[in-house]
Amino acid sequence: MTNVVNEDYDVVIVGSGGGGGMAAYRLTSLGVKVCLVEQGPNQDPGEIPMFQRNDEAPLRAIGTPDKNWGYFDNGVCGTWLPDQPYASDEGVDFTWYRAQVVGGRTNHYARHSPRMGPYDFIQGDLDGLSPNWPVTYDEMKPYYDATEAVVGISGVNTGMYNHPGTPDDILQPPIAPRAYELLMMAAARKVGVPAFQRHNAILTRNLGDRMACFYATPCMRGCSIGAAFSSSTSLIPLANKTGKLTIVTRAKVCTVETGKDGKAIGVMFVDTQTGVEGRIKARAIVLAASACASAQILLTSGKNGSKDGLANSSGQVGRNLTDTPAVRVTGKFASLENRPRYDEFGANMDHIYMPWWGYEAQKKGLMDFPRGYHIEVGQGFRDAPELNAMQQYSDRNGLAFGPGLRDEIRRHWGSFVYLDGRGEMVANDKSYCALDADLKNKWGYPVLRFSFEWSDYEYNQIAHMQETFSTIIERAGGEVVSGLGAPKDVMSKPGGMVHEVGTTRMGTDPDITVCNPFGQTWDVDNLYVMDGGVLPTNPHKNPTLHIMALAYRNSENLAQRLKQGEI
């Protein structure tokens, strides 16, 4: 990596994940000269351990403090990055799960890619609980189309209200449901919950240089053949082809530097291996380091260390932090014990889901929580056995040993199915990140402290999930074995769903938002944010597709302004 980057660029992008990768792709394809700065190393897609067995790794490849999601998990990821600590308020156990590698967290995300619908963009207006999005679905539709065309989406269109489909010429065929997925689909449908094959960012047909899935290797490790979308295999190679992209790796951006006129002039970074500082200049800066990391950079970039930070005249940088409230309810099915074996792996990720259906009931006040959720479905004998997941099968009959235990484990293998709820959280005053007064990272820069609270909106939603999931499991002939109990005890931890967004939200009112409707900060004309931070709300529809569609759109705005000499 280069410490001093002398060349002048049109745009410096900080972070190469979903938002940064899409910005790099779109800007370079419009002829803009881009320098992409990433704190992590590059990873050659050919070097992904797709076929390695878990027993070839230390500790059977289970998660450790070094690699939270397992030895082979792609992404140099974890909550614990030794050089970059963070703090949480007392009693708040915030999980800030970060990636540091080219591709960011898209290298190993679960690829669920539902679109937001028209209602999601205006719901704030209707229930008064959050600001509207500064764009409508109709305005975003062409960008969803364009984004999906490059990302590659397989699945079916549900035809349901507020679940817009993908045009036929873009949408690739769906993946056949597995046996337990068919059972859960049938049971859900019977109790009035819709169930369909879901939209996955996984190719079932070749797309450009990327190949269709061969249905055999864990997608969370990454996908050398590019069937599973990730920024590193699917966007950055395209951006590279334009000849307009420079990538600087292992460079952690600490601050955005500004000139006398208040405009951004470049970024200051440290080489994570040597600690040496460097600078890169550009006409415009795009922050896409992920929602909280970009907020951290802004807060650290304050004039003379002012605690207010840069682009924060609204005081909203770091505020409005939301994550996805979630709960897992697991069913045990006697009818699935000893069932006939077949290759249940498929495309590794879920093939089906249950979209939210309660808009009308909520509007009529029939539900005690304001926003929707969707249901994901997992387990069976989809994944190869994992060391720390065998107790379910071995401990049904106490802690037996000896002859007979093998039969017992074999009998239960594949007879559990879980339903995962993924809800929408309403932003509240108590959930935010700010700079910690004392704690510093390895290079002496301040780090984040998290405050977080779920409210009754989320607790009530979790209770509704528990009831609904129990109904579906029981209708399918199963018995609920875990996931019930007080929502606050069984639901996900703050940050646990890795869907943190909102910390630099965009909108039409500069007093309560950080960015304008194009992701440009209100205060600094040539500074944009293009990661999850700009999402004004956090619809339960997983965030990455929206982050990328906005980055696509907002990059066009930036390119145009550069071209017109406005910047």
């Binding site: 790794a57 065929p173 056949a176 235990l405 093998r406």
Partner: protein, 265 residues
């Protein structure tokens, strides 16, 4: 000849005969029981005391880091291996009682359970550090308990005698009483043995798990017997089979299911 790695001095290895090794281990356990820092506890009601104060080797290794090599993990793995041969034999005996071999499936000792524990108990992370403590203190306890029950150490017990020790540990309370630590030891080692066993190819085979192999074309979903099974089940539950998407697309029954959720008025 066997090799004994003295736990807390991993770099020092001495060659010993098996008999000498057992003598040494017994001596070491006696040593720890009598060490001045330990309150000398004696067996009560036929239950050996847990050697709480027994020194457990510490591991000073930074871990494999956030960007380990996925392909060149090496024969020896990321950290020096420090599990003694004695502990390996003791663990093998434990493991082979948990999951005894059958006609079609090998015993854990045959498929490298000792190597698994060597890797595991030599690792620097918290879970593994706990296991290292369990192994070091626990097998001292097991030897003493075996001695109280049968006048032999753990490795000398017959299968039936060893099973009796495991049953004692299995059925004891983990919450309280003199056997709570042995009860935890049983639960924890059993979990690791099962987890380590079924993550091998032999283990998968014993489960009947079909490890996915790359295919060209669409994923077919359940076929043959598996498809018949799920269809019969769905129909027997009085659920609708005919509108489900079965197998690879396209689906002829595609339009036979729709869900109407109207725009909220």
């Amino acid at each position: 000849m066997v090799e004994l790695a003295i736990g807390f001095m991993p770099e020092r290895r001495i060659k010993l005969s098996r008999r000498r090794m057992i003598q040494l281990a017994v001596a070491m356990s006696a040593m720890s029981a009598c060490s001045p820092s330990t309150e000398t506890e004696t067996a009560k009601d036929g239950i050996a005391p847990w050697p709480h104060d027994l020194h457990v080797p510490t591991v000073k290794h930074p871990g494999y880091g956030t960007f380990p090599d996925y392909f060149e993990i090496g024969e020896t793995g990321p950290w020096p291996k420090i599990l003694s041969e004695q502990h390996k034999r003791q663990l093998e005996k434990f493991a082979d009682l948990i999951l005894p071999a059958t006609e079609s499936a090998p015993a854990p000792s045959v498929i490298g359970i000792a190597d698994f524990f060597d890797d595991w108990t030599s690792a620097p992370y918290p879970w593994m550090t706990d296991t290292r403590k369990t192994v070091h203190q626990g097998f001292i306890w097991m030897d003493k308990q075996a001695d109280l029950m049968f006048g032999k150490n753990w490795l000398e017990l017959s299968e039936a005698q060893a099973s009796e020790v495991l049953i004692l540990m299995r059925d004891a309370s983990r919450d309280e009483g003199p056997l709570s630590r042995p009860a935890w030891m049983y639960k924890n080692l059993r979990e690791l043995i099962i987890g380590a066993y079924y993550t091998t190819e032999e283990g998968e085979q014993d489960l009947g798990h079909i490890h996915a192999q790359p295919i060209t074309g669409d994923y077919p979903g359940p076929t043959g017997e598996a498809l018949n099974h799920i269809r019969d089940l769905i129909i027997s539950l009085d659920l609708d089979w005919d509108n489900l998407p079965i197998g690879s697309p396209p689906y002829e029954n595609y339009a036979s299911y729709a869900f109407t959720a109207d725009e909220p008025k």
